[in-house]
Amino acid sequence: MQTNADKPELTLNPGVKSRPQYPPVSLNPAAQCQVFIARKNTTGDKAGALLKPLMDEAEKSEKSLNIIPLVVGEDGDVISMSQLPQTISSLPLASSFYLAGTEAFIWDVAKLICEAGFIMEQVHLLPPVNNERRLFCTHCYAITEPVTHSPAVCSGCGRHLLVRDHFSKIHRAYVGVQIDAEDPADLPEESEELC
């Protein structure tokens, strides 16, 4: 039987190309509008800290740049996810976007940006602030999040899912496949700590 401690922490596998890569981000000096979007975080402002050097650089730039910081959250003082599309659609074509937050968040925002007519070339994703993943169950198609360990229990069908490094930009999620299907006798222990 497996115990929780045996479960491997999710790690990067550079050989798999459908796991998004997050190369270092630099400011696009040609953009007319620099847009910084971060997820408000209750446990410290990791996303804001990631964006700070880029924002400082943009402010120092000789070009008179239009700098737009957007913090997304559910409180009254910040912009909500549902307000974001309207804000994005009012921006000029020559905009560059810099996104920081959890992996699911930055891809959710990237999707909104592309729906407004911008292209991924204009969207710069900072490395996710933690290892939380969104998981797509390949058996019942339910979404489970956040997931930090593998195997994880599916919120839809309750199966124990191996989290694979295969990412979909449409679902903004990783695929999960039942880990004990070949040998039903070897069921890992269920644990509330998984989610």
Binding site: N28, A30, L93, S96, A116, G117, E121
Partner: protein, 316 residues
């Protein structure tokens, strides 16, 4: 490749501008395949001395495949193909064409399409326009030409497109200010250019200056084979020596000598004709091989590339 060609009859020939001639092709024994907006066909021309093969955009409505239309500009630095089309090809003649392929399709998800044509570069857009109207797509056509030489179809375009049509006749001092054109674009716009390299470069440069992403700028990447110095090709298997004159491409010289090399675009794009190099240094002119492959000198695309050295031994 001759077995994969489609014979077509030249149904009509007419001049549509001082230096541009339009040809209509109809089926001989097999129906013409359907095609998509932006497609091109390769036309084979049997000259007395050599066979010419040029790629031309289909300029007819994709919804009507009873005939294909192409328009050929008489090129000042012609390698022979456009001269042949202008002087030798007549109504009733039968030519061979390759089936349509498309490396310049509209980006249908765009919210607005900005078409920029230079001279005979209007041709692919002639197939775009009816399709865009059918799909209720939002578009503008910006047509740059010199009325003393080009400017085909401008009357009909002006009437059909109304306020979506913008023309610039440089023989009458009318200039297209690319900067202004690009500066007013909104998110979701995609730009398509077909015309001389200088026009493509001008648009790309202005876009970069304005901070417009390169990915919304589309252009036909064909590098028509350009002349160079003469050299000799040796075939590794037989030792056969084939002379490539300055006006012919390596692929044409091989075909003239009866050597079959798989090929498709004949413009350095598709990669079908990649051939191994045993000796000699190639002069790469294609858009297909990676920088590392080019540097290795171990393969070459004979459709557009030539030789630095006086001879090149190919793995054929």
């Amino acid at each position: 490749m001759s077995k994969s060609m489609i014979p077509v009859r030249v149904a009509s020939v007419r001049d549509v501008a001082p230096k541009i001639r339009e040809f209509r092709f109809t089926a001989v024994d097999q129906a013409l395949p359907a095609f998509s907006a932006g497609s091109h066909v390769m036309v084979e021309m049997q000259g007395a001395e050599k066979t010419y093969r040029n790629a031309y955009s289909l300029m007819s409505d994709p919804a009507d495949i009873s005939s294909y239309g192409i328009a050929v500009r008489l090129q000042d630095e012609s390698r022979g193909g456009s001269v042949f089309m202008h002087t030798q090809v007549q109504e009733g003649d039968v030519l061979n064409i390759a089936p349509p392929a498309n490396l310049f399709a509209p980006h249908w998800a765009a919210k607005k399409h900005i078409l920029i044509a230079g001279g005979v570069g209007i041709t692919p857009f002639m197939s775009y326009l009816p399709e865009m109207k059918r799909r209720n797509a939002d578009f503008e056509l910006h047509y740059l030409y010199r009325s003393a030489q080009t400017g085909a179809y401008r009357q009909q375009l002006s009437e059909a497109l109304g306020e979506k049509y913008f023309s610039y006749d440089s023989d009458h001092g009318q200039q297209c200010i690319v900067h202004q054109l690009l500066a007013q674009l909104s998110p979701g716009a995609h730009v398509y250019i077909c015309g001389p390299e200088s026009l493509i470069e001008a648009v790309k440069t202005e876009a970069a200056t304005l901070g417009i992403p390169a990915g919304i700028i589309h252009y036909e990447e064909f590098a028509a084979p350009k002349p160079g110095k003469a050299f000799t090709v040796s075939l590794a298997s037989s030792g056969q020596q084939i002379a490539v004159d300055g006006e012919s491409s390596m692929l044409e010289a091989l075909e003239e000598a009866g050597v079959e090399v798989a090929n498709m675009c004949r413009g350095g794009v598709c990669g079908q004709c990649v051939t191994g190099v045993k000796e000699g240094i190639p002069e790469h002119r294609d858009d297909f091989l990676s920088a590392a492959e080019k540097a290795s000198g171990q393969c070459v695309m004979p459709c557009v590339s030539r030789a630095v050295t006086d001879s090149l031994t190919l793995d054929l």
